[in-house]
Symmetry: C2
Subunit: 520 residues, 2 copies
């Protein structure tokens, strides 16, 4: 699934494909065995470096300094470590993980130019302040499997959640049923009027009408008359139940503007179902750190200079300097751009292209899961047109006493607005907004909160970045500059996803390992 | 949410509402306190009997014989037990639970006129042979909470699962994107052609087009040109990925007949997300039996006669006879109809109305979760037009070694077809069908299987029943006949759901308890 990111050099994979073409799969697998390789079930396109690679070629591994112990840096160290590379990680923050940050009671969260927050969540309650969900096709799940991080379903789409737009709140199921009902009715009408006769055959029109009847739950006259899909004030039981109030007119439904909520999981990145590690996203970091070795990571090490030499690299940091054969730099590009280096003006220019984007979240802890008990919302997301954008309900710990909602997860202007506030004011604003949907209990019953403004996190300073275009600057940085490789989600088409950081690390590792194997 | 099922008699709830109307909420809650009641957070419409009810009225509880220890019978015993009723349950089968049946290695499944199956699943593998999923609004979840049955998400809709129709297999995400793309394009075209001018204002047409653009991922000309929502042969990573082959024509998409799969979770019963008990559906039965007391349940007791007397009931069974003050009969109606009784001809006639429906399932165990590793399907359902109807992938134990698929879950003619086969032939047929979707590994790699044909399960003999109409026979049996009350999913509008059995039991309990409290 993932691309190896290899360049023009003959890769092992290319070699094996050559053998496969000449001698068939049997010969290829035999050759892989000889190379100390086993076919990976997880990812057909990436082969981790192995010690056997060196045995065959009669050479040793190399020393690598990795700048940043976020997900990209940890993944690079983990993969290189499989072949015995001697990796050192320099992390400017006080702990590894980068944006993969899970907050729990007892944690202290500092901000650039702002007050620190002491997190006061109860036992067992956590807040994924960074990434919170994983799509099933993403390499992140492969790492969860390989590292033994248990996963569970993350509910990304919930028919029982709400849509709050233009001041009105309806259940997602109701918004969807009404929109689909009217769309189906209108297209059925247009078909009946002959509007499609030139482009759709009569037979196909019949098939289309069958679909529309089902899609919109249309009545016998192919009109939308409401539907039990909209939900009930009292669900069926001993009697047939009491439906919610009848749908509004087409004009009202269109004016409600619920469309964005309806299509929120249509894309390949957020399609249902999604997944999360049991107990918090940082379980991935914990396992990566364990595998890499905590002793390889120096925290609080702020890099001040990167020099690529003929025979190695030198990285100067706040606590000293590290010499190594190669470097993998995984800092966000806008921070990397500020560090003096000798990698050339093109690299400097390329690093300055991506634009950091603001992103923020607040975790709100309650002592009672009223959203389950009263609203019957078990996981999922309420979409809003308020500045909080979303409310996330927890997809775990169902029926337990406490629970944590994500009271906003917003980006860009909305995130900047909240970032400019004190944590106390962010909370107040988020509660005022959420109260419009959930009523007074949302404001009054909150026990504890913690908010993050990623652009105010030291040594990160942004939720993610955006490239104005995936141009030659992007591809330039996907290749090494001297002995320095770059990695991070920002060097992939999976920006803002951990999978991007992992894929990028794999790409850098593959290139670096090829070079080491091919070096004289 | 649930209705109490009370009849014409003055109910406590009616009384309390009266007090509430006269004295306000404060007076109502004071009265509830005096009655030994606390307001239920779970279900505003059902109040479980409590011992305090009797204290107030200076009378004792009664003895109740319950026929059937399925979910309805157990729920009735559980709720009556809260007020100290002396309940005895007569269960014809060898264990409690009825259709809530979870099979594990070591179990033996017998069938009417067929060979027994020795279940050989590995450690930790289970097969929910009966109900498998719970909607969040259902009272079943309240019982899970109250009884301490941990729940987890059941993935009911998976964009990565397949749709197999008319001999072709595509991912659900692809089928959906294509159908929505063309529907959006056609309606946009019709709008542009003026076909809707008489029914939709120009302003609304603009709003509609905005929605259609988003809904169908239309291009700038409002045409469907494919979409990355369809999925990728290689997902984006270091490069933008390789999309799956371009969509077929409208004619081809319509001819593929994928519509049923697209709308499968639109209804209120199966909307995403759904839930399941951790470790198997029978966790509910286990906890109910624990709460009721195993010693109150006589298994292997086949009832042969029910007599309602002036001062009690007599129930004769294969192991003796039980006298009690009241009876709750929870057998399926078509079996109850065959038991001699003195409840009158109208009852006999009413019991004969519901028609049993066939339903069947097969569990297929594999030693490797190839659907996760190769197909990236984590939970969810593949919809087919084959006689297997569905394939369910497990929503739990992700990344573990073994796993169990449901290889068919079918009803009516398809279920009858499989029911008529030996277990070995059912397995062979199911594997031949599933192989059309998943290839040879589906057939070759299966380790163990077990299949159920509910109409061949002794003392159950059907998946569920259907009423030709919810007529006076239905409402007749919602009321007692003499001292005999009826309960079961078949007496609700939630047929085939455990929630129906539970709601019905609550209804019977409420009526019975009122009668006891009001009896002289």
């Amino acid at each position: 699934m993932a691309e190896s990111g290899g360049g023009g050099a003959l890769t092992r994979r290319g070699l094996l494909i050559g053998i496969g073409a000449a001698g068939g799969a049997g010969a290829m697998y035999a050759a892989m065995g000889a190379l100390g390789l086993a076919p990976s079930e997880q990812d057909k396109d990436f082969t981790a470096p192995r010690t056997g690679d060196f045995t065959l070629r009669g050479k040793g591994s190399a020393k690598v300094v990795i700048i940043g112990a976020g997900v990209a840096g940890l993944t690079a160290a983990y993969e290189l470590g499989k072949a015995g590379y001697d990796c050192t990680l320099l992390e400017a923050r006080q702990k590894a993980g980068g944006r993969n940050l899970t907050l729990r009671g007892g944690d202290r969260l500092t901000e650039l130019n702002g007050p620190a927050q002491d997190v006061k969540f109860g036992e067992g309650v956590y807040f994924n302040a960074g990434p919170g969900r994983i799509a099933p096709w993403m390499v992140t799940l492969d790492y969860c499997r390989e590292l033994g991080v248990p996963i569970e379903t993350f509910v990304n789409n919930n028919a029982a959640a709400y849509v709050h737009t233009n001041g009105s709140t309806v259940r997602a199921r109701t918004a969807r049923a009404d929109m689909y009902g009217y769309v189906a009715e209108l297209l059925a009408k247009a078909t009946d009027l002959g509007a499609l006769d030139r482009v759709v055959s009569k037979n196909d029109q019949e098939t289309l009408l069958d679909f529309l009847r089902r899609f919109g739950d249309l009545g016998p006259k192919l009109e939308y008359e409401g539907s039990d899909r909209r939900g009930f004030a009292k669900f069926p039981a001993l009697d047939a139940g009491t439906p919610v109030a009848a749908p509004g007119s087409l004009h009202q439904i269109l004016a409600a503007g619920t469309g964005r909520a309806i299509t929120s999981d249509f894309g390949y990145e957020q399609a249902t179902p999604m997944f999360q590690p049991v107990g918090g996203m940082d379980a991935i970091v914990t396992k990566l750190v364990e595998a890499v070795g905590q002793d390889r990571i120096t925290t609080g090490a702020k890099v001040t200079k990167i020099t690529s030499l003929a025979d190695g690299v030198e990285v100067v940091h706040s606590g000293g300097a590290v010499k190594a054969d190669y470097c993998v730099a995984t800092l966000p590009p806008h921070l990397l751009a500020k560090i003096p280096h000798n990698l050339g003006a093109r690299v400097t220019a390329a690093l300055s292209k991506p634009v950091p984007a603001a992103a923020g979240k607040i975790g709100l802890e309650y002592g009672r899961r009223w959203w389950e008990q009263e609203d019957r919302i078990y996981g999922g997301v309420t979409e809003t047109d308020l500045d909080i954008t979303h409310i996330w309900y927890p997809s775990h710990g169902y029926h337990s006493e406490r629970g944590l909602l994500v009271g906003y997860y917003n980006t860009d202007a909305d995130a900047e607005l909240y970032a400019a506030l004190t944590p106390e004011d962010r909370r107040r604003r988020a509660l005022t907004q959420g109260k419009k949907i959930h009523g007074e209990k949302y404001r009054q019953d909150v026990l504890a909160s913690a908010s993050i403004a990623w652009e105010r996190q030291e040594h990160i300073q942004g939720g993610w970045v955006r490239w104005p275009a995936f141009d030659s600057s992007f591809t330039l940085l996907q290749r090494p500059a001297g002995r320095v490789y770059f990695a991070g989600d920002w060097l992939t088409h999976l920006i803002a996803w951990q999978a991007g950081a992992m894929e990028s690390a794999r790409g850098a590792v593959t290139q670096l390992h090829q070079r080491v194997l091919q070096s004289p």
